[in-house]
Symmetry: C2
Subunit: 431 residues, 2 copies
Amino acid sequence: MKGINLGLIGFGNVGSGVVRILRDRRVFLAEKSGLQINIKKICDKDFSVKRGVNVDKSLLARSAQEVIDDPQIDIVVELIGGVHPAKDYISASLKKGKDIVTANKALLAQEGRSLFAEAALRGKNIYFEASVGAGIPIIKALREGLIANRFNSIFGILNGTSNYILSSMSSNNCDFQSALKEAQKKGFAEKDPTLDIEGIDSAHKLILLTYLCFGKFVKMEDIFIEGISQISLSDVIYAKELGLEIKLLAIAKKEGKELEVRVHPTLIPEDNLLASVNGVFNAIHVTSDLAGDLLFYGPGAGQMSAASAVVSDIVDLAQDIKAGLFRPAMSIIEDKSVQRLSSIEEFRSRYYIRFMALDKPGVLAKISGILAKYGISIASVTQKERHKAHIVPIVMIVHESNEKYLRHALMQIDRLDVIKEKPVAIRIEEI
Amino acid sequence: MKGINLGLIGFGNVGSGVVRILRDRRVFLAEKSGLQINIKKICDKDFSVKRGVNVDKSLLARSAQEVIDDPQIDIVVELIGGVHPAKDYISASLKKGKDIVTANKALLAQEGRSLFAEAALRGKNIYFEASVGAGIPIIKALREGLIANRFNSIFGILNGTSNYILSSMSSNNCDFQSALKEAQKKGFAEKDPTLDIEGIDSAHKLILLTYLCFGKFVKMEDIFIEGISQISLSDVIYAKELGLEIKLLAIAKKEGKELEVRVHPTLIPEDNLLASVNGVFNAIHVTSDLAGDLLFYGPGAGQMSAASAVVSDIVDLAQDIKAGLFRPAMSIIEDKSVQRLSSIEEFRSRYYIRFMALDKPGVLAKISGILAKYGISIASVTQKERHKAHIVPIVMIVHESNEKYLRHALMQIDRLDVIKEKPVAIRIEEI
C-alpha cells in the first residue's frame, strides 16, 4: 500500500483535530482509500499549548521551512489562518511540487486567484473544502457532483455566529447586544466579533462559492456588504408578523448578463428552508440548471467538523497523487454569459421599511407622497402600537423597487420633521 | 486529450437526457475534466419513440450485447431499470472489463451485494449517484466528502411522489385519494403508484444509503415498511394542531449495537428542516460523528436532474480510468459496532394515537386502563369535535413505548364495543 506523506503547518484547533482523525482512524481510512496517510512533520509557532492529542516529538518541526523543504512530503496542510505568512508557505510549497490542503478562506478570498494560477502552472492542486461550511461537502458537490451544471444563484447562510445571533433574537425576543453577549459566552462569537457580524467572513466564503459556480474571482470591494449589527429586535418581530424571517445571506445571483454579489441581512418567507436554519448552522442553497434547487446544511464551524473536511481533501489528493492524476485548474471555467458585476444601486428588490413617525394626521400622506415620487409602490402598510409618547412605528412592504431610488426616497423622508428616527430598510428575497 | 468511450443501454427519459448533456456540453465538460467523453453506442429496445434528441444513426446498436462486446467501450451506462435483464447486462459488462454507471435502485437494492463484489473482483466500479435523490450528490458526499466519518443515523424523504401527496394533504386539506389523483394528473405519480406510496421505492434507496453509511447490505425483508395509503386527512390536521408534520421517512438508526432500518409515515416537529421539505423534493438528513448533523435537499426525480448525476459519475469514472486509478470496493467498510438488525417489535418511540369512540362516560377510563396495563404512559390527550353522531375522535400522544406492547394494547382497545374504527398509531421521531 503506497504511503502519502503530510506536512502540517499549524497545529491549533483544526490541526490537532486532523491529527486525531488520521491517527485514530488510520486503519479505517486505509481500508476505505487503499492508502496509508502518514504525518511526516508538524510545525507550529508554539507547541507549549495543550492540543488534546499526543504526537511523537520526532514529528515536530522547528519551522514551516523545514516542512516545505522536506522532499518526502507530498501534501502540505496549511491551517494557520490569515493571509501572511500563509500565502508564502503555500506558494513555497507549490514551488517544491507539493499539493495543498487549506481551510483558509480569508487567504483564498484575497489571494486565491494567483495561488490557483500558480498551482495550475505547476500541475498541483489546492483543496479547500473546510473553508466554506466546515464539514458540509459543498465544494466537492459544486466541483464534482454538479460538474455538468450551470448555476443561476447561490444563497448562503455562511456565518454561524451571525446566524446564531439572529436566530436567538428571533426565538428569544432579545436584542442584538444581548444575543451577541450570549454568543460570546457560549464560545460562538469572538471577543471582537467584527469579521463575523459585519459580513466579512461571509463575503470571503461567497467569493469562493462564486468562483466555483460562475468561474469569476470577484474582489472584496466588488461585493456589497452590510452586517447585522444594525438589526433591531422590533424589526425581527414585525417581520415575523408578516411571515418573514431575517437571515444574513451571502448572495450571488445572475440577472441576465449581470452578476449580483452581495452580503446583507435579508428577509425571507418563513416557509423557505433557509428560514428554518437556526443557531450556528450553515446552509447553502444553489439553483442549478439541470439538478434544480439544492440545499446543503450542516454545522458551519467546529474543530472536528472542519477536520473532517480537511481529511476528505487529503484523501482525495492522496488518491490523485498515487495515480498521478491531476484534476486541472480546479475544474472551474468562466461562465461567459456573465458580462459584468452589477452594483447595488442598480439592484431591485422588494423591501421591508420601518419609519418612526409622530402620530398625527397627514404623516402617511407625506411618506407615501415621497415614495410615489421615486416610483416606489407600497404593497402593504401597518401602523404598530405606540412606542413612546406620540411616536409610532409604521411598517411597509414595498413592491420591487430600485435600490438607488429607494435610498433617495428614504433620505428625503428622513428629513421630514415628523420622522423621529432614521428609516430602516431590509431587502426581501423570494429565493 | 484522451477520449473515454461510453456505451448506453437504455435510451428513455434519463438516457436521452444524458445524451443531451454530453452533446450540448461537450466543450464545457472537456474543459472542466480534461477529457473527451464520446458516446460510442446506444441501444434501446425501441427507437421509434421520439427522444427529443437527435443522434447519429451509426451510434444505434441493435442489441445490448453489441454494446457489451465492443472492446472500445470503457464505461457502460445502464438506464433500462428493473432487475432483469439489467443485472445480466451489468454482469456481462464487468466481465468484459468495463466500468458501470447506473441509476437502477431496484436492481442494486436486490442484487447490489453480488454486483459490487463482482466489480471489486475485476477491479472495476459501479457508480450509482442517480439512484438516490436524483441530482443531489448524496452518494458522493457519503463516500468521499464524509470519508472520515462514522454515522449514527439516516432520515430520508426519498420518494417524491409520497412527499408530494403528504404535502398536498397538509397544505390543501385534501384526502389521500384526491391528493394521489392530483399527483397522477401532474405526472408525479404513476398510474399504478404502489411502489411509491407503499414505501418500496424508499426502501430500495434506504438499502443503498444504509450500505454507504454502515457498510451493511440489508435485505428488503429485513426492513419494516409501511406506506402512506392509510393516512387520513384528519390525522394530518390533528397532528398539525400538535405542531407535528407527517412525512414518509426512510430511517436507519444505530441504537447501541443494533441497527433499526425502517420506512413508515412519521410525525416530526414542524420546526425540523425535514418538515419543510414539500412537494416532489427529497432530503436526506445524516448524523455523522465528526461533521455533525447534515442535510442534503433537492428534486428527487426528473429527467435532467437524474442525468446530471449520471454525467457526474461518468466524469469521475473517466478520470479514474484515464489515470488507471481504482477506488476499491466503493470505499465502504462495515461498521462492526453494529451487531444485528433490530426488529420493529423491539422498537420504542413516542406515538400519536387516534381512537374513534362513542361519546359517553367511562370511555377514556377504559382506553387509558388498557394502555396502563401495557406500561404505556399518556403524555397528552385531546377530545376533538364530534365526527358523526355520538362518535368522537380522541387524540393522544404517548410517551416512549414499546411497539409490541402498543400493538397489543391497540388490539385490545379495538375490541371494546365503544370503539367504532380501528385505532390509528403513527410513530413520532425527534431527529
